[in-house]
Structure formats: structure tokens, C-alpha cells
């Protein structure tokens, strides 16, 4: 019966983020939070495993103060308990910092047989957290997993790679990052939503975890984030002869360095 932990990120819903036309800066003032899409697959996979094999699922997240908004949401999706680390450092955290915080938390609340994460987050999609977390914990890491079977302490995973499909087995404990195709996350029923409030959650502070300001400082600091808007040139060639239009198009592309 596996003892599972799912690590998830509370991100902004990208559909709610607007790009300001004047300077391409992002307006996220009205954006709602959500559990990062691939992390929902990780939560679902852990819930399915435990429904089938028994065991337990807990959830862990590191984020800004907003991460507290995620607790009932995540607890309505299967986990029996959630742990959360809310710290302003998460605003600028890179994958190294995130993995450092998660590893420290896992050392405190663990051990776990299976530690599941989404392959990448909805906002940054760096795909770095799982391998860095595994390295810090000294555990094997299976990434790009689209099928998972557990029997006793043996995990059999199918990994979807660029040019091949790899089936591997590994003994627990292990860190696993999953792809979206591994399952279809459940839609919580109303009773699951309402019972989430009764499940326990526990805050862990960075001080509890013995982390220093240096541990929480990213190597690369993000100065700004700008949206990308494809500008149309709106050039219409109006020559009568098609060949003349083609010639003008060729000339125009050449002037842009695209010939």
C-alpha cells in the first residue's frame, strides 16, 4: 500500500491574464488561481493508485500567501491531508529554490514511497522541479510518465520520450513526473468539495524547515514578464498579374530577411 505525496503548484489561470496593448505588460489583477494542469494529473494518479491499492495520499505546495486558497480545492480531489509552505520567496523562486523547499518539507513530513508531480507547471513549464527534487532527496526520478503500475515496492512506468517509448521498473521510494495523457482528472463531486473543509491541513514555515535566505534566493532574477502579440503587416498586393504580385511578395519577404 503506497504512501504517496503529490507536489503541486498554485498558478494563475492563464485564460484570465490580459496583455496590455500599450506596453505588452501582463495584467493579472483579475486572474483567478488554479492547480497547475499537469499537477492535477499527478493528484489524480495518486488518488487512483490509492483507490486501487490502499495506502494514503497527501499533498504539498510551496507558493506565496495565495497558496492557502488552494487547500480545499486540492483536498476535494483525493488527498487526505495537505501541507503548505507560504513564503514571499515563491514569487521569484526558480526550480532550484522550489525543489529545495519541497525537499526540506519532505524530509520533515516524510518518508513517502511515491512522490508525484506534474511534468511542468502551467505558467513556466520548466520541467525542472521533479529531477532537481529527486537529486536533492537522493532518489531515482522517472519523468515523462504516461502509464504507471505499482506492485509492492516495484514501480513500472511507461515514459513517452521524443523518439521512443521506454518501459522501466524501479523500486520505491521514487520521484515521478507525469504527462497529461496519463489520466483524466476527476471533477470533484459536491460532497467531495464540502468534505474538503473537514480534512486536515498543516502549514510549514521556511523557518520550520531550517531554510536560510540563501536557500531561497534564485540564481536568476526575473525583472519583467511581457506578453507576445503577433503584429500583422496588413500589406495587400494589388497588381493585376499574379506573377507581379508574387514578385512583390518575394521582394517584401527579402526586405524582412526571409528570402
Amino acid at each position: 500500500m503506497p504512501n504517496c505525496l503529490v507536489c503541486y503548484k498554485w498558478t494563475l489561470d492563464e485564460q484570465d491574464i490580459k496583455i496590455k496593448s500599450e506596453d505588452l505588460s501582463l495584467d493579472s489583477s483579475r486572474a483567478k488561481g488554479k492547480i497547475s494542469d499537469f499537477d492535477r494529473n499527478a493528484i489524480e494518479e495518486a488518488a487512483l493508485l490509492v483507490e486501487k491499492l490502499g495506502g494514503a495520499v497527501a499533498a504539498l505546495s510551496y507558493g506565496t500567501a495565495a497558496v492557502k486558497q488552494s487547500l480545499k480545492d486540492v483536498l476535494s480531489r483525493g488527498p487526505e491531508k495537505s501541507y503548505w509552505v507560504a513564503d514571499a520567496s515563491a514569487e521569484q523562486a526558480d526550480a532550484t529554490v522550489t525543489a529545495t523547499v519541497l525537499a526540506a518539507a519532505i524530509r520533515k513530513i516524510g518518508p513517502f514511497d511515491l512522490i508525484l508531480l506534474g511534468e511542468g507547471s502551467s505558467d513556466l513549464f520548466n520541467q525542472q522541479t521533479a529531477p532537481r527534487l529527486a537529486a536533492l532527496l537522493g532518489l531515482p526520478c522517472l519523468s515523462f510518465v504516461n502509464k504507471l503500475e505499482v506492485e509492492g515496492d516495484v514501480v513500472k512506468a511507461t515514459r513517452k520520450l521524443d523518439d521512443s517509448v521506454e518501459v522501466v521498473t524501479v523500486k520505491t521510494p521514487v520521484v515521478i513526473s507525469v504527462l497529461s495523457e496519463i489520466n483524466k482528472p476527476r471533477i470533484p463531486s459536491l460532497k467531495q468539495v464540502l468534505s474538503a473543509a473537514k480534512k486536515p491541513n498543516q502549514e510549514l514555515t521556511v523557518a520550520d524547515l531550517g531554510l536560510t535566505p540563501e536557500d531561497l534566493a534564485p540564481k536568476a532574477v526575473r525583472k519583467s514578464v511581457k506578453g507576445f502579440v503577433m503584429q500583422r503587416k496588413n500589406i495587400i498586393f494589388k497588381e493585376t498579374a499574379a506573377a507581379a504580385n508574387v514578385a512583390k511578395l518575394k521582394e517584401s519577404l527579402a526586405s524582412l530577411g526571409l528570402s
Partner: protein
């Protein structure tokens, strides 16, 4: 004063939105074309506790409040108002039993209604000017063992698929509506016949039919509440129903606004998206405002119901507001999309029909104004 939904209410709304996106969006167009009752979807809704949302946990319901309920109806309606209408008609029948049922009636029906094993329906309207009056009025005649019902009910939603009907009949034709009495009638009762399904303008898939009662014999225990209490029960249930239907209208309106806005951003005319043209902006701004204000009125009425406070005037106000502005929301959004908006391959014609189905049925045109005026003058 707090206009913010609680975390639970938001999550319940999110759950309904995810359900709508996953299960209703793919079937909405087919449902509109075929009008076939979506039995599998209703079973899925039951599995997610949407059919027992308002019923207490003791009978297997979710025990959520009315503010959560309107969140669910709005979000389901964004994807299929027909399905939301089935839920609304089921829920109002379940609520009738919860509010007025005897312990025995509750024990018999509420657990099945909460789990969605049985669907509920309200059989209130008749072809006459008001229930209990007119040549086809349903009458209930007292006899030694109980009651005998004869007559017809019109525009019964969930007709043919419901397992239990809350039926209103006059216990004294001379008194008409004043003697209206509610009965709990099992769909298998001998003499109850569901007529041919009506072909309706909108909300296709929510079955509507006439029900005929021919010497339907009911025991005394079938009376809901007390004899002659039917008019008061109907008034209360309809007031609640108007708020539930307002949620349906707001959901349809929201879907229309989102579709029109997305269209206006990608439709290029005169070298730029039509979304930057002032005439289009005015229409989008007006309809978005109408939907927003309607939602606030709706949430206010829903909260009053949840808190057990008087809500009838606010329910009438939101009904009145949406009877006027619901169809306008559709005209405005169709206008934004021009000829495309008018075409059946776009969703707005379906939404237009669904909003008509929501605001045209269930209430005499002057009902809300009478209630509102009586409260102030």
C-alpha cells in the same frame, strides 16, 4: 455587506463549470437538434451530487445552500441550459417535498431524489387562466379511501422521465384556485398518462408534455401539506423557481457574452478587429453590464433564500429584470456577430431559443410587477 462567494461556493461553481465543459459542451448542439432526453448525462449529474444539492445529508443530499445552487445552475447553463432546466425542475419538486412533505413522504422519496434514482417534476400549470380554473382543470374529489383526480396538467417539464410528480388539483371546483391542493403522485399510478412530447422553441432535451389524469385514486397520505394549501405552496415554490431560472438566464447570457467577445476579437473588418469599433464596444459593454447586474440581483435573492429571510420581492425583481433584458442580451450579442451570429452553425441561435424558453414559461407577464408594486405602494 459581502458580495464575495465563499471558498466552498466558488469550488462548487468550479465543479459545475468543469462538468459543463467536460460533459455538456460536447452534447449541447446534438441535444438542441434531437431533443432527446439526455439520460446518461443526468446519471452523471447524480454521481456528482448535483441532483441532491439542496437536500440534507441525512437523506443523502449534499446539504449545500441556495447560493451554491444558483452557482451550479449558472455554470451548467453556460454549456446547456436544457440540462440545467431538467435539474431545476427536478430540484423544485424535491424542495416541495423537503419543505412541505410529511415524514412518511420524505422517507419514501427524498433519498431517491437526492441520489437521482428518481427524477422529480412539478405539475402545476393548466390550459386555463390559472390552475384550478377552466374546462380541463384538474379536480380532486374526496372519497372514502382518499382522493380521485380527473383532468389535465399542461407544460409539465421532466414529463415522462420523472418518477414522482408534485401535482396541484382543486379540491373544490366552485372555489377554483382557492381550493388548490398539492399531491405527491408516483409516476406509475394507474390512470396517469403522459401525452405526446411538445415541440418547444428552446431548452430542447428537457421533456415537456401534457399529463392526463383519469380516475387517479390516491390515498389520503398523498396530500402535500394540507388541503387547500396548494396556492400558498405554489406561490412559494414559484418564487424560488424564478431565482433558479434567473441563474439559468444569467448562465446563457454569460455564454453569449463570452462567445460574442471572442468573435469580436478575431473578426477583422476595415483592417482591425471589430472589437475596437465603438458601436460593437457599446453593445458588448451593455450586455456584459446586464449580465453582471443580473448576477448580483440573483446572488442577493439566493442568499435571502439560503438565510431563510423574505425573498419574494427580490425574486420578482430579478424575474422582471431578466424578462426584459434576457432577450436583449441575445439581440445584442447576435448583432455583434452580424450575419454569422444569426446562422445556425454558431451557438447564439440556440442560446436565443433557450433564453426564450427560460423567460417565457412559468409566470404570467404581469406577475413580477404586481408583487414588486404591492411591496412599495
Amino acid at each position: 455587506m459581502n458580495f464575495e462567494l465563499t471558498e466552498e461556493q466558488q469550488l462548487i461553481g468550479q465543479s459545475a463549470r468543469e462538468f459543463g465543459k467536460e460533459y455538456l459542451e460536447p452534447i449541447a448542439v446534438d441535444l438542441d437538434h434531437t431533443g432527446e432526453y439526455p439520460a446518461k448525462i443526468i446519471a452523471k449529474l447524480a454521481g456528482h451530487d448535483f441532483l441532491g444539492l439542496l437536500l440534507p445529508a441525512e437523506v443523502g443530499g449534499a446539504g449545500a445552500g441556495f447560493a451554491s445552487y444558483v452557482e451550479v445552475i449558472e455554470n451548467l447553463s453556460r454549456y446547456s441550459a436544457a440540462v440545467a432546466s431538467i435539474v431545476n425542475n427536478h430540484t423544485i419538486a424535491a424542495l416541495a417535498l423537503e419543505l412541505y412533505g410529511s415524514p412518511e413522504q420524505k422517507k419514501t422519496y427524498l433519498p431517491k431524489l437526492a441520489k437521482g434514482e428518481t427524477l422529480g417534476s412539478l405539475a402545476l400549470f393548466e390550459s386555463g387562466p390559472t390552475p384550478g380554473v377552466g374546462p380541463d382543470a384538474l379536480t380532486a374529489v374526496k372519497h372514502a379511501e382518499g382522493w380521485v383526480l380527473n383532468g389535465k396538467k399542461a407544460y409539465v417539464r421532466n414529463a415522462g422521465v420523472a418518477g414522482v410528480y408534485i401535482v396541484f388539483a382543486t379540491a373544490d371546483p366552485a372555489l377554483g384556485a382557492k381550493a388548490l391542493t398539492a399531491f405527491v403522485v408516483d409516476s406509475k399510478t394507474t390512470g396517469l398518462k403522459v401525452g405526446k412530447l411538445e415541440e418547444t422553441m428552446g431548452l430542447k432535451g428537457c421533456p415537456v408534455a401534457e399529463i392526463t389524469f383519469e380516475n387517479v385514486v390516491l390515498p389520503e397520505t398523498a396530500v402535500l401539506g394540507t388541503v387547500n394549501q396548494g396556492q400558498a405552496i405554489a406561490a412559494k415554490l414559484l418564487s424560488i423557481f424564478y431565482v433558479a431560472e434567473a441563474a439559468q438566464t444569467v448562465g446563457i447570457g454569460q455564454a453569449a457574452v463570452e462567445h460574442a467577445a471572442a468573435y469580436a476579437k478575431q473578426r477583422v473588418q476595415f483592417g482591425k478587429p471589430v472589437a475596437v469599433l465603438q458601436a460593437v464596444q457599446t453593445m458588448l459593454a451593455e450586455v456584459a453590464t446586464d449580465v453582471h447586474l443580473a448576477r448580483l440581483g440573483l446572488q442577493n435573492a439566493a442568499l435571502l433564500i439560503e438565510e431563510g429571510k423574505p425573498f419574494e420581492v427580490e425574486a420578482a425583481m430579478i424575474r422582471s429584470f431578466l424578462v426584459r433584458l434576457g432577450p436583449k442580451m441575445m439581440l445584442d450579442t447576435c448583432q455583434v456577430e452580424g450575419g454569422f451570429g444569426y446562422s445556425e452553425f454558431m451557438p447564439l441561435p440556440r442560446l436565443f431559443r433557450d433564453i426564450a424558453g427560460t423567460v417565457l414559461l412559468d409566470a404570467p407577464g404581469d406577475y413580477p410587477d404586481k408583487t414588486i408594486a404591492a411591496s412599495i405602494a
